[in-house]
Symmetry: C2
Subunit: 137 residues, 2 copies
């Protein structure tokens, strides 16, 4: 039983956003935003472990978000398309207005612990919780 075209493209689109939906991968993409980087450089800039970076890079590459090029014994990665950066930029712009809302998006995931302090630290205005949800979990 085939899925409809619509559902398939949703799945593919979801996977794209999923690729963008992880802090480690975002930090890698941020590093690449200022230009091509080798794996080692990314490891340094992100302070993630080397295998972890490598795994995420594989994912990002398979996702078409970055491309790789062998440079001697190094492998250099870069953003595959300007639209990747545009997505990040657009998200930032949106977040500037709804950041707190996103922080509250804990229905399907209480975060490991981006504690309230850390959020305050980003200077996001904390208004009284309108919905009253997820405060007591």
């Amino acid at each position: 039983m085939l899925l409809t075209i619509d559902q398939s493209s949703l799945a593919v689109k979801a996977r794209l956003f999923r690729g963008l939906g992880d802090p480690s991968r975002l930090s890698i993409l941020e590093a690449l935003r200022s230009g091509p980087r080798t794996v080692g450089e990314i490891v340094k800039e992100t302070s993630l472990s080397q295998p972890n970076v490598s795994n995420h890079l594989s994912c990002l590459r398979d996702c078409g978000l970055v491309t790789a090029e062998q440079k001697g014994r190094y492998v250099q990665y870069q953003l595959s398309d300007d639209r990747v950066g545009e997505l990040l930029k657009l998200a930032e712009s949106l977040l500037a207005d709804v950041a707190r809302g996103v922080y509250e998006c804990t229905r399907y995931a209480l975060p490991t612990h981006p504690s309230k302090e850390s959020v305050a630290n980003v200077a996001i205005e904390i208004r009284p919780n309108p919905g009253g949800r997820n405060e007591t979990n």
Copy 2:
């Protein structure tokens, strides 16, 4: 111990993309792209279960991606900002060029089963797997 501003904003941004990174939520957002909808209407259009829609709507609302308004005994939802639609549009545009790559992004997730047929159904060209990864899992 506070996270750095950088890391916090990454976490928030990741959560935004995570909100967009699920087929069910995307189908809800697609429905809302053509205008405000009540929960019941969304349930019909997406053929998701009512509790499931409700859960995802809560998430989307907390994420700041949609807003809700009580209309009599109905609750009407709509996209909270034009940029939500823009993100979706930008993603579509990007996917037009890298769709297959995204399909191959299975490092961290073999999907429940967007079987190969369903992908072929979207007329995405399937080339021989360059990396040879994840074919045997």
